[in-house]
């Protein structure tokens, strides 16, 4: 172990978001600069997992002050070293500025994005080096596993989890303790546990961030679950498209094995647990548990009817417990802090916190962990910083392709599993896509249905054939060819698919359509009856764009960005759009610096 005492720690986020915005270059530059000023033995660089505030990445935090620098570029590094690390002067221009007040905020704890969060699952993400087991152990990691295995019986562990009220974070919300009990009670000398990390919802990256930022927490949760259930072997089923998560997980498993935390005779108890990684090939349906098990077995990822449930007949026909990444990541906290600490957070039937991936037309895109029962308004406006360009909120889509769109009237709804279901959406794995007034809800429904249609495994009739027909109807509505009766037919088909599809994917596939019809029926009607897309999105229905000559400054950005050369004019004079050529794509309006372009 490194025994050097450093006067300062610089945490650089190396989650996927920050890496793609350039944090690796920053680290290299920082190493050079520290060497240049001979600070290598005084300042330690720590690569961490995701901080969640991906919008502002790359993120750097300097301790002991806890100064939060955002959108750092390699050319900023010299200044940070010279000013902050040598002279102790904070670089003000790199601090986070609240969107509304423009006030610089030095410490991340004071930033609204973090203030309202309650971080259990993400507590270590961004704080420790995920590739170093010592850092995890140093902040209390693996204590819960030790406690469970050496001080508690398997039944006591299950009872604790039951009392905590933890429910499955993968979407369904089934009580975790009860699930464990079923597998525990199932007869069989061989049992398995599986961690479902086949995160596939568009825009979701919760599981990825946890695996990248704190893999040991997931492993620890699985050890505890395996002990409780009586499984001696486990699999983490993770998408091959998550190379960093896989690399860190592999490293973490190797370290845990080296420390005797995985393998044989854990904590001298005689309990053995072997953990494997199985890389998925990117089929969305493999997030469905029976398809996932088929995939581990080397078969085509296709769901099978239940019963028998995995708890009775799972992987290779043996009793198997499957939970999601986030579910397992909650377990160490529950065992260590006790069920009461956990169930004091949240609502009556939904305890603890939930991680959401906040995306769409929102200022603070990123990963947030909030207590159950928080309102949508708090998430979107207080944490998320409101909508981009100050636009009006229209709806938020939760639960990914299985979820629904929630309109503004429910912004003050305290969210938990049940309340979301009541309004026609669902918790899902935690994707949250914010939409503004410029979003066409028919188009949104079409987007999600297109996703589920192409990801359907093709096994059962309603999902394979039914979603295709729904998609065709939506396509014609968006193209301005909607027919009288189409909306009813859509609803009809949607209910039919919900009623008769084989697996969860199919049964929930119509939800985006049903919820948008429920709350935005007038938009559908405008498409079908008036042949208009009120949001101006659907190209087949949108009117041509026009330039307001009084506002136009003649910069020519519009003409430069028009994909069909429909805009003509001379620089410094007013430009005009040929309505016959315009395809209403909106690229010109997007680029116009003075908002001179709108739909006619």
């Amino acid at each position: 172990m490194d025994q050097t005492i450093y006067r300062s720690h610089v945490l650089i986020c190396t989650g996927t978001g920050c890496v793609s915005s350039g944090s690796r270059d920053i680290k290299v530059k920082l190493e050079d600069e520290l060497a240049k000023y001979d600070l290598t033995n005084e300042v330690k660089i720590v690569e961490t997992g995701c901080h969640g505030f991906c919008e502002k990445g790359p993120i750097m935090i300097v301790y002991p002050e806890g100064v939060f620098y955002c959108q750092v570029k390699p050319e900023d590094v010299e200044e940070i070293v010279e000013e902050h690390l040598l002279k102790g002067r904070i670089v003000d221009r790199l601090l986070f500025k609240e969107p509304l007040t423009e006030e610089s905020i030095p410490s991340y704890k004071q930033i609204d994005f973090y203030k309202k969060q309650k971080r259990i699952v993400l507590s270590n993400c961004g704080r420790i080096d995920p590739e170093n087991i010592d850092e995890y152990i140093a902040i209390g990691g693996y204590e819960a596993a030790g406690k469970a295995i050496t001080e508690m019986t398997p039944q006591e562990v299950i009872d604790e989890v039951k009392e905590s009220g933890l429910r499955g974070r993968g979407g369904g919300g089934f009580p975790t303790g009860l699930k464990w009990q079923f597998t525990h009670d199932a007869e069989g000398d061989k049992k398995y546990i599986i961690c479902n990390a086949d995160e596939g919802d568009p825009g979701a990256f919760m599981d990825r961030s946890v695996l990248e930022g704190d893999p040991h927490r997931v492993i620890e949760g699985m050890i505890i679950a395996a002990y409780a259930i009586g499984a001696d072997e486990g699999y983490v089923y993770v998408r091959a498209e998550y190379p960093l998560a896989i690399k860190r997980l592999e490293k973490a498993i190797a370290q845990a094995e080296e420390y005797g935390l995985l393998g044989e005779d854990l904590f001298g108890s005689g309990f053995n647990f072997k953990l494997h990684i199985k890389k998925g090939a990117g089929a969305f349906v493999c997030g469905e548990e029976t398809a996932l098990m088929a995939s581990i077995e080397g078969k085509r990822g296709m769901p099978r009817p239940r019963p028998p449930y995995p708890a009775q007949k799972g992987l290779w026909g043996k009793p198997t417990n499957i939970n999601n990444v986030e579910t397992y990541a909650n377990v160490p906290y529950i065992i260590k802090e006790g069920a009461k600490a956990f169930n004091s957070i949240g609502t009556e039937n939904s305890k603890g916190t939930k991680v959401f991936a906040l995306t769409g037309k929102i200022n603070n895109t990123g990963l947030v962990e909030v207590p159950m029962g928080i309102t949508l308004r708090e998430i979107i406006f207080d944490i998320g910083g409101g909508l981009t360009k100050g636009k009006k909120f229209k709806a938020v889509q939760t639960g990914g392709p299985s979820g629904g769109c929630i309109p503004a009237e429910y912004l003050d709804l305290p969210i938990d599993y049940d309340s979301l279901k009541e309004v026609g959406a669902m918790m899902g794995s935690g994707g949250m896509v914010v939409m503004d007034e410029g979003t066409c809800m028919v188009d949104v429904a079409r987007f999600f249905l297109n996703f589920t249609q192409s990801e359907s495994c093709g096994k059962c009739t309603p999902c394979r054939e039914g979603t295709k027909r729904m998609l065709e109807i939506l396509n014609r509505i968006c193209a301005g060819e909607g027919k009288e009766g189409d909306i009813d037919l859509l609803e009809n088909l949607a209910h039919h698919i919900k009623d008769t599809a084989l697996c969860g994917l199919g049964q929930t596939a119509p939800n985006p359509v049903l919820s948008t019809i429920r709350y935005f029926r007038d938009e559908y009607e405008a498409h079908v009856q008036d042949k208009k897309c009120p949001a101006g999105v659907c190209q087949g229905l949108a009117a041509a764009y026009v330039i307001d000559e009084a506002v136009c400054v003649g910069c020519g950005m519009c003409a430069k960005n028009c994909p069909v050369d429909a805009i003509s004019g001379k620089p410094k004079e007013s430009y005009r759009i040929d309505p016959d050529l315009c395809i209403s794509c909106g690229a010109c309006a997007e680029k116009c610096p003075v908002d001179a372009i709108s739909q006619g």
Binding site: P305, S454, C457, K459, P462, T467, K468, D499, T500
Partner: protein
Amino acid sequence: MSKISLTIDDQIVQVEEGTTILEAAREVGIEIPTLCYHPDLSLHGACRVCVVEDLEKNILVASCVTPAVDGMRISTRSARARRARRRNVILLLANHPNDCLGCDRNGTCELQKIAYSLGIRREDVDLLAGERRNLPLDDIGPALKRDPNKCILCGRCVRLCEEIQGVSALQFSNRGFDSIVSTAFGLPQSEINCANCGQCATICPVGAITEVSEINKVWDALEDDSKHVVVQTAPAIQATIGEEFGLEPGTVVTGKLVAALRKLGFDRVFSTEFTADLTIMEEGHEFLERLQENKNLPQITSCCPGWVKYAEHNYPDLLDHVSSAKSPQQMFSALAKTYYAEKEGLDPEKIFTVSIMPCTAKKFEKEREELRDSGYKDTDAVLTTRELARMIKEVGLDFVNLEDEEYDELMGKSTGAATIFGTTGGVAEAAVRTVKEKLTGEPLERLNLGFRGVNETKVEIGDRVVNIAIANGLKNAAKLLDEVRAGKSKYDFIEIMACPHGCVGGGGQPLPMSKEKKDKRAQGLANIDKNKYIRKSHENPMIIKLYEDYLGEPLSEKSHKLLHTSYKKRAKN
């Protein structure tokens, strides 16, 4: 197992625990339509046509895969269940060619039958009209053709090929609306490790997999005055073709079959049973030799072309064990263009040989390059039982009321031993009848190997105990073959038939098929054997005459030239 009690459509039903709702309903005579379900296969639950309403939970469930639970209340007829069932059938039809008239399965199609019984009309389907699958046919092979556009993705062929045949020639590919049943790498079915057994064609509920029809080719020959058209009928046909005309499975209609063929215009009507007897003579003597030399044992039968192709793909190292005797079809055709031509003074070039087979693999067999020992392509056309029935229907023959007629004599006489070639265990029994008597002079009691997938018995022949095994269904065969490969087989003689139940369950037989039907068909053949005057191949007078007049003796040089063949290794893809 304890009994549970549930209510289905207000009837109280008592069933064993573990029974599905579908099985429980059928026990009390409540019929629920199904498509992907098949009693011989694993449960799949994909078509969702068998949905019923669980009135307690207020949900729809697929009755074929949902276990009945004590106290359950099920409605198979509620408006919700009926609507959902109809809707799923309509969804299938919306992506299915509107081509019933031109389809081989018109009349035997399960989708057509369900659509009719649910009262589905064209306008119901048109309401959901949209894109339809439009993929090329796989029809370049000689035996089977696949029309992926008719496929309803029930997966019965996929499961059968994997679970019963152990071949897995067909699998699901792609996702969503693009899902298809496909071969490895999308190769034509004729270019993969497929035995051409045609079991997929028998289990397909629609016309997505069918035999390659040779009806037109046969009509052309019959209408061509310069051709002398000779037909042979396989043993199993006489106990199955009656089903096509409404008779009970297993009804023996040998005489009507012969009469119908004459009326269709065939110049000579012969029986493959004649060469089945000949097969026993050749294969039996081959076995005697091997027994004496203790070489290449166990000897494995070669009369099933599905099995032979399977062996070439999967067990090329065991090809020395396979009898070199040709199948009865090929022995017949080779003799028809030599022995028969000579006897009748015909130009063999003018002879057109047709065989009526229960089998699709025979269509492939006739195309083998090496089977031209007469100097011509030995077999010119193979018709399945179903194809022949179609020809008989086309000309409007009142099959059931035809006067019985006899086979033509030269190659039409046969024994009971030849008849039972048509069912599993029959070849082994026929062979042992002759071998034992030839060696010891003692007749054989019945072997009674029955219809089990794998079975074994032993026979004392003189001072030697001969161990015999049979397998039907290729997955069963693989069990015996793996033992041979491992050097652990105790058997001296193994009979293998690719199709479950043997030829009575062949890929070319009348549809639909079931275990009970196949049992009855086999029983029909057993009855013929029992009543036959001669029951041992070596006592067939026309066989004796054939050897006297033409071949000399079994395994003679001429026999080797005309009646034996060789095999080759094939790729396993």
